[in-house]
């Protein structure tokens, strides 16, 4: 059983290769589309790494 931990002292998380890939769902596609639309309209913080601001 493989695990990962968020940080020292935190509970371990178990890696499960059988978890369905939610990123392939229609729900994920709609959420991503909505997020992109928000960012296209409002931008991102100007001081963010990568200069993502408007």
């Amino acid at each position: 059983m493989r695990t990962v931990t968020p940080k020292k002292g935190e509970p371990l998380m178990t890696i499960d290769p059988n978890i369905p890939d939610l990123n392939k769902t229609e729900f994920a596609r709609k959420k991503a589309e909505r997020a992109r639309a928000f960012i296209a309209k409002h931008g991102l913080p100007k001081d963010e790494k990568g200069k993502k601001g408007k």
């Binding site: 990962v4 940080k7 499960d16 939610l22 994920a28 960012i39 931008g43 913080p45 990568g50 993502k52």
Partner: protein, 145 residues
């Protein structure tokens, strides 16, 4: 973080997480996932994950009296995710105003501990700025320090 959290199962690529909320309404499966929407930019999706479904429901309110534990568990997924993708920025927007308010309360409640690892910015409706308790936001951007 010292707030109790639920045991979590995570996909190989560390993009999809599942856990079970436990309370008066029973055992409710929850899902958290990170979707790449740009260079170093990911959308956080979160909601109930009905059995036998591959789709999340982010419109329901479980009322399982464990909100803080659930939100702390979601926050812990962000740590694992950014351990793997340290330059990623996480975008969060609720599906409804109430949902966004829930995120805001969760961030505010855990702000001291979240701030140990993350910079949190919020969009007020007019501009982005550093997250502060008591202000209302319509979206959030979280980055690893």
């Amino acid at each position: 973080m010292n707030i109790p959290k639920y045991p979590v199962f995570v996909s190989d690529d560390l993009l999809v997480y599942e856990f079970f909320s436990e309370g008066p309404k029973g055992r409710i499966k929850k899902g958290v996932f990170y979707t790449r929407i740009g260079k170093d930019l990911y959308n956080l999706g979160f909601g109930d994950w009905p059995d036998a479904s591959d789709e999340l429901d982010d419109s329901s309110r479980s009322n399982n009296e464990d909100r803080d534990k659930v939100l702390a568990t979601v926050a812990s997924t962000a740590i694992v995710f950014t351990n793997r993708f340290p330059t990623a920025h996480i975008f969060m927007e609720g599906s409804t105003a109430a949902r966004t308010r829930l995120y805001q309360m969760g961030i505010g409640f855990n702000l001291q501990e979240i701030s140990e690892d993350f910079e949190v910015q919020g969009f007020t409706g007019e501009e982005w700025g550093t997250f502060r308790r008591g202000r209302n936001y319509s979206a959030f951007l979280i980055s690893r320090k």
